[in-house]
């Protein structure tokens, strides 16, 4: 059975049609899926409907066999622990250290009091250390996050998601504020996570060439509709034009380059 399944998901903001229009797809364990599309196409909304940070207006979403729309507050918290999320602006608590931010990923498993006091057990701490080491942040572990570079901050974001022991990680424009170097490091880490840990990665991207290079599968969204769903090698110039509209001259060039190389 698919790990994540969306059936006819629709979202309207303020009764206006339609941030998402009848979106259906399913994603398997360990898949690396990129969602591409122009700004305002509904990529962020789509991602946030999966962990119910945004409530879908209609349709059904099931994560790991659990239908999310009908869950109580407590069960929704439990479901969210299985879904990590990383953000364009990293969304860390800047005044806290790397290790503290990473351990925030464990809060979903905590009772109110333990979470409020920030009490983490030895196992959780050593897991956090291990993940920080994998992401190459050993030297920054006790640094405050406002002293880190963008790429380092994003790796802290990834660590916070990983420490949740998630089945899925949702990435909302993870490299949109990073330079090419840092972007490559982040994308490589995400690919390793999906290949080696078997965690499903769903990532919103602006860069088509990055999506082509890293994904197992690409979903193209325009005006809330899925207009392409398939392997990167099946993505043709015509389909890119469908996704982005007529202003896709540059993108076509990049696609040509891929075929050349």
């Amino acid at each position: 059975m698919a790990l994540l399944e969306l059936k006819n998901v629709t979202k309207n903001y303020n009764n206006e049609c339609c941030a998402l229009d009848n979106v259906s797809f399913s994603v398997d364990k360990g898949e690396f899926v990129s969602i591409i599309g122009p700004s305002g196409a509904g990529k962020s909304t789509l991602l946030r409907c999966i962990n119910r940070m945004v409530e879908a207006s209609s349709g059904e979403i099931s994560v790991d066999g659990v239908i999310s729309s009908s869950l109580s507050k407590k069960k929704l918290r439990k479901l969210r622990t299985k879904i990590g999320m990383i953000f364009q602006h990293y969304n860390l608590v800047d005044r806290l250290t790397v290790i503290e931010n990473v351990l925030h990923g464990r809060l979903g498993y905590k009772s109110t009091l333990a979470g409020v006091l920030g009490r983490y057990n030895q196992e959780e701490k050593s897991q956090a250390y291990r993940i920080i080491e994998i992401l190459g942040l050993n030297e920054q572990i006790y640094k405050r996050c406002d002293q880190l570079s963008g790429g380092q901050k994003q790796r802290v974001g990834i660590a916070r998601a990983l420490v949740q022991n998630p089945k899925i990680i949702l990435c909302d424009e993870p490299i949109a504020s990073l330079d090419p170097n840092a972007s490559k490091i982040i994308m490589d880490h995400l690919r390793n996570i999906s290949k080696e840990m078997g965690i499903t990665i769903i990532v919103n991207l602006h860069q088509v060439e990055v999506a082509l290079k890293y994904s197992d599968r690409i979903i193209g969204v325009n005006r809330g509709k899925v207009v392409f769903d398939g392997a990167p090698c099946d993505l043709t110039t015509r389909q890119i034009r469908d996704i982005y509209g007529s202003e896709s001259e540059d993108l076509i060039f990049e696609l040509g380059e891929r075929h050349a190389g």
Binding site: M53, F87, H89, L92, R95, L107
Partner: protein, 261 residues
């Protein structure tokens, strides 16, 4: 078209300054304020102050009397301000856009904040004097209410400034409301809040002197007493002590600020 904008702006400025001029000349005429006499009498006041309003050797005898009074005023201000800060923290969490539980709580706490903020401390003291007569409690409560309004407002802005990003991230991990408050909102906004608290303590020590004149307690009352007895040397000693105290408190809190920010 472009000329039009510049002419408009110039005319607007002209009208504004003309209105200001009419307003100030009008007020001078209506109140029969003699501008020249007003300024020349400043020198007279300085001369009088220089020859009478200074502490002499004899006035030092009152030191043992006024030190406990000074201490009372300072400690009462600190007590009133810190207790007000605790309550203001709760109100500001309920009132802030990012951490509010629902609209009604938010409106109520914003309402309390602006009501208490917009009544001057001196007015509070006078109103409270009816219930509590001339006692330290009156002064304590006056400062408490005044600080509560101001601090709630300041804390609310601080929380709003911290913003939604880290809150969103923690929600996505499955953290509960109180987890988010204690692990993200408070760590991020605490230094700014402490800075506001220190500022409030500084102003309150100054205001407490004035309130003391009204309520007949603390250092303000001592000043009032000596002044009305025409013991200008003693009165000036009181003023000098207040100035020194305020400067010392300001230096201390500046140092604290430098460490925490």
């Amino acid at each position: 078209m472009r000329d039009d904008i510049f002419t408009k702006r110039r005319n607007g400025n002209l009208v504004f300054f003309l209105a200001l001029l009419i307003l100030s000349v009008g007020s001078i005429i209506i109140t029969e304020y003699d501008v020249i006499k007003g300024f020349t009498s400043i020198t007279k006041a300085v001369i009088w102050g220089g020859s009478n309003f200074y502490p002499d050797a004899e006035s030092l005898r009152i030191l043992p009397e006024i030190f406990p009074k000074l201490q009372e005023t300072v400690l009462m201000s600190i007590a009133a301000t810190t207790v007000a800060a605790v309550l203001a923290l709760v109100l500001s969490l309920a009132g802030s856009q990012t951490t509010r539980i629902n609209r009604i709580f938010s409106i109520v706490s914003r309402g309390i904040a602006s009501l208490f903020r917009n009544i001057p401390i001196v007015a509070w003291a006078m109103v409270l004097m009816i219930s509590f007569s001339q006692s330290p409690l009156t002064g304590y409560l006056a400062i408490f209410f005044g600080s509560l309004g101001f601090l709630t407002r300041a804390f609310m802005e601080t929380i709003d400034e911290v913003g939604n990003n880290s809150i969103e991230a923690l929600q996505a991990t499955g953290a509960s409301y109180f987890h988010i408050i204690f692990q993200a909102v408070l760590p991020a906004s605490m230094p700014q809040m402490i800075s506001w608290l220190l500022y409030m303590i500084e102003t309150n020590i100054r205001d407490a002197t004035l309130v003391g004149v009204l309520t007949g307690t603390g250092i303000g009352f001592s000043f009032d007493l000596y002044y009305k007895r025409f013991d200008y040397h003693a009165a000036s000693l009181v003023v000098l002590l207040i100035v020194i105290t305020v400067i010392v408190i300001e230096l201390v809190s500046n140092n604290v600020r430098r460490v925490i920010l």
